[in-house]
Symmetry: C2
């Protein structure tokens, strides 16, 4: 059995993870998986999420803990652990840092949206949210497109500055600009990615501001959270979700449906794009992700195979 | 973070584990825990069980996989993994071999039944089932009582012989007898422990055969499984269960209730014995265990503390 920590998982190539997430979408197309609803286990103010998923060869259980008070003790609010087993005998194969794997696969979910929903030629991008997910989104964005300028916005300006410095050290030829004006950011950028915990739309928009742009929402994982204004979903040429659960789980879809801004039949599963590509040129597009254990399963399987081939991780004396 | 494998957990002293399980019963008395129902996740013919439990300081999630076809590939049908976290910040503390911990804590559940429900003076014992659990029951029995002779019965005589040899090597002064006559075994013994997967009672009994003896049922974890004949529950002076879930989960309780052999109000929670001891002398007693995640939590917490103090296990570079 193997243990793969944060450091090892963070260093796995983005090509490996993005291919794995694309493979997950292929499993969606041919229904080659079994993913029960995630389980929410409450205890005091905390939550334990249990996310199992099975494919033909493997299965995972991701455990995520959400402890809102942990930052008071200088600990992260969210921890995660993932157990990968073979799905022939149920034998445990690997234990992985769940937070690091989640950051990687969520970056790749955004990366695939960039790959299939933006023009090859785009040069400008904006990112709302300078946390772990925002950073991962930036890296996968740059893996997929030759962006010249990235605008970064965060409620805490220091966080945006820090993220721009980290990225500058890694991507020297890209210009990083800390933005304090959300509307200016949207105006300047061809693709806008939000990875925040915002409960209200991050900017106000009229039709002209958003036209021809691609909007990717990674935050808003609850029905009362919304990152983008209704104008976008109301005027988008295409609306995609990573899983149809997004319709009930995220306010970015649930709120405009409830308010009769759009109807549910306009929402398409992103996996379908693998069969029926769209021409993203001059199109207004919205992509909303809430994530699913299938991404973890596919990414963890790929990481495990790579670890075996390259002798990565710590061997556990099982 | 620590990894504690089968070998390390099997060597933990029985005093440590039995005290931990007794502590779990104390938590039952003062309602000092939160244990959601275990979750059954089916996939093909296999089952994943997720068993979370929270106390003030710690929480565990035990993952158990049941793959009935695995023995065809020379793999065990049941695998387990336990994740221990702190319950203040949700931080993962240790990963433990779930099967080894389950065997230890289940042994201790039987051990405590022996401690509180049999006379100090007993000298003879019988064990049905020579698997992992039967072996652990024998060890905890001998931890609690100075038994002179143990009768061992199993459908596979070789298994009973092997178990008697393993135990003889460890407990040289005890006599081990392989029994092929279940009724003779019951007749000869003062305490009878069953740890089998039997669906039908293991022996036929009249009132005289069972009088004054203690019966401990560890198997029969489903409503259609039964280890002991109804005569015992019908004539017992005391009937205890480790958790009231046993009433619906085990056929040893559910079947006689359904058949109006007894009424549910005769069933008592074992934890109460910590406050109100009984005099087991000349009493006919039935104890039925189905186990619960609270035992895992309490045992895993104790093992973790001991591991820290004694530098046990493998350190994970988290």
């Amino acid at each position: 059995m193997l243990f793969l920590n944060k450091h090892t998982i963070s260093k796995i190539g983005r090509n490996i993870i993005q291919t794995a997430v694309e493979d997950a979408y292929k499993l969606v197309l041919n229904a080659g998986y079994n993913m029960p609803d995630r389980m929410h286990v409450p205890d005091k103010n905390n939550t334990l999420l249990l996310m199992p998923c099975f494919s033909k060869d493997f299965f995972v259980t991701k455990l995520v803990t959400v402890f809102p008070e942990a930052p008071r003790h200088d600990q992260p609010a969210v921890n995660g652990m993932l157990v990968l087993c073979d799905n022939v005998c149920g034998k445990p194969l690997a234990i992985m840092d769940g937070a690091a794997l989640t950051a990687q696969r969520t970056g790749a979910v955004g990366g695939l949206a960039v790959k299939f929903l933006t023009a090859q030629s785009i040069k400008t991008a904006g990112i709302f949210g300078a946390g772990v997910q925002g950073l991962s989104q930036a890296r996968y964005l740059l893996f997929n497109r030759k962006i010249k300028t990235i605008y970064i916005s965060d409620l805490k300006k220091e966080s945006a500055i820090k993220m721009s410095q980290i990225l500058k050290a890694q991507f020297n030829s890209v210009e990083f600009i800390v933005s304090e004006n959300p509307n200016q950011l949207v105006k300047n950028c061809q693709v806008i990615i939000a990875a925040t915990t915002s409960r209200k739309p991050l900017f106000k928009a009229d039709k002209n501001l958003i036209k021809g742009k691609t909007f990717i929402s990674i935050g808003s994982f609850q029905p009362d959270m919304q990152e983008f204004p209704d104008t976008i979903i109301a005027n988008a040429d295409n609306i995609f979700v990573d899983t149809m659960f997004a319709v009930k789980e995220s306010g970015d879809i649930a709120i405009p449906i409830k308010d009769n801004v759009i109807t549910e039949d306009k929402i398409k599963e992103f996996a379908k794009i693998l069969k029926d590509r769209i021409d993203p040129e001059n199109k207004t597009t919205l992509f909303k992700s809430v994530g699913m254990a299938l991404f973890d399963l596919s990414a963890a399987s790929a990481v495990y195979k790579l670890a075996l081939e390259n002798n990565l991780g710590q061997k556990l004396d099982f």
